[in-house]
Symmetry: C2
Subunit: 240 residues, 2 copies
DNA sequence: CCGATGCTTCGGCGGAGGACGAAGCAATCG
DNA sequence: CGATTGCTTCGTCCTCCGCCGAAGCATCGG
């Protein structure tokens, strides 16, 4: 009994509503100021300051002072990954957030998930890539096929550079709104960067939602042309 | 703001020391009774009962009544995965459990991690498999090579059967004591089952530690002949 | 049957920690 | 140089929730 690192402390840290809201806001991948995070969490500035100090001390967020602002961001992909996992567990119980705002549909359609895309469009892309043989899923793992490599290369994504990092190239990430996987990992990030750089999608200021531009709609439709074809089986590659 | 499933509730649930201890105990993979979990968490039976009810309601654990006992176990690999991730975050801050008991070295040497092996030996095996070309790591993903497939087949592990499931065959799982990856996934589980079935390791009753038997030591040395790291010098294998 | 064991519900106690207002520093602006 | 903004520290209040003891149901053994 009582072996291993004390997960209770970290979990309790994430378990406070105000702090959880802050972390959730940081899941969009951008760095936010203390004031923004205070508003995001719905608490006063002093309260937020205390929370952020604790999150920083635990190594969950990193701070960068810029003038009279202090920018906070998640300290790494592992933090984002745990938060995602917690979202999955929370979604499993059916307990969804109790305030479905008017922004909800946009959020469901396309949003950022730490540093890659999530939502309907992301799931569509993922399934289209599988249907087109650009991605392959075997034994619960996703990998890029030769066809996929040349496809992304032709589209202007430097796959070879991504493969030099230790980060997994492809990663099936369970989408909490669709309950189906979308593409994460280095390639997932590259695709989001690509889509933003070409103005296919535009990050919104106040939320994780991604606005899809008209040219972006055409481009995404082109990429996902074969998504409607029935898939042999959905792959949910979560778990150890 | 405030979008997505409410992770705060789940995290707060895990964030209580007593509940975290219970979940940690269940990480060994076995189902435990309410009384055992109460002792594990260091709380009274009524307190434990309340905690377990909440964990069950949130879907983190499953209950099975058997006579006058109620057996609890983690509800799935995703829960175990999140717990592991939290361990990683906790270990990152350097805040380790404050009571390093006498059992600690054994625990560091070999233990279960939900349903596969962890600790020094698990890391050694993982690295040896990589060195021998039985596993391949590319772009952060681990996969079984043809050589590995025939190796495990010759050793009596039915790899083909594992590939029919949706669970990832190979998964690099960060070892919190070694800070280096070991093998999880379906193959990781199969290897642990194999080692237990052949009495190479023996699960201990009171902890996640695995006792390595003398024949097990020989077998593991054979499997890990080409690991980069020097062999663990000590043998703590008592007879069965 | 009766006693023992395992687990749960109930009620009351107590402490940890999250909330805010006021005040204090730092940085930017007119 | 004041004035304003952004953030932090301090002190205090108060709610929440984890804890246990006692009692109440079930199950198993004789």
């Amino acid at each position: 009994m009582k072996e291993g690192p004390s997960i209770a402390a970290v979990a309790a840290l994430i378990g406070d509503p105000a702090r959880a809201n802050m972390l959730g806001a940081l899941m969009a991948g951008r760095a936010l100021t203390a004031g923004e995070l205070a508003r995001e969490a719905g608490v006063s500035a002093p309260t937020a300051s205390g929370h952020l100090a604790r999150l920083g001390q635990a190594g969950l967020v990193l701070v960068e002072a810029q003038g009279r602002h202090r920018y906070f961001r998640l300290s790494g992909p592992d933090v984002a990954h745990v938060l995602e996992g917690l979202m999955g567990l929370a979604a499993r119980t059916g307990r969804l957030r109790t305030r479905p705002g008017p922004r909800d549909p946009a959020l469901r359609r396309a949003r950022t998930c730490w540093d890659h895309m999530a939502g309907e469009w992301a799931v569509r892309l993922y399934e289209a890539f599988l249907a087109d043989g650009r991605l392959a899923a075997a034994a619960g793992q996703v990998s890029l096929t030769a066809a996929g490599r040349s496809f992304f290369r032709a589209e202007g994504i430097d796959v070879a550079a991504l493969e030099t990092t230790r980060r997994p190239l492809c990663r099936a990430c369970l989408d909490w709104s669709e309950r189906r996987p979308h593409l994460g990992g280095g390639l997932g990030r590259a695709i989001l960067d690509h889509a933003v750089a070409r103005h296919w999608v535009r990050p919104t200021a106040e939320s994780r939602a991604l606005a899809v531009t008209p040219p972006g709609l055409a481009a995404l439709r082109r990429w996902a042309a074969n998504a409607d074809k029935p898939l042999p089986a959905t792959i949910a590659a979560t778990g150890p």
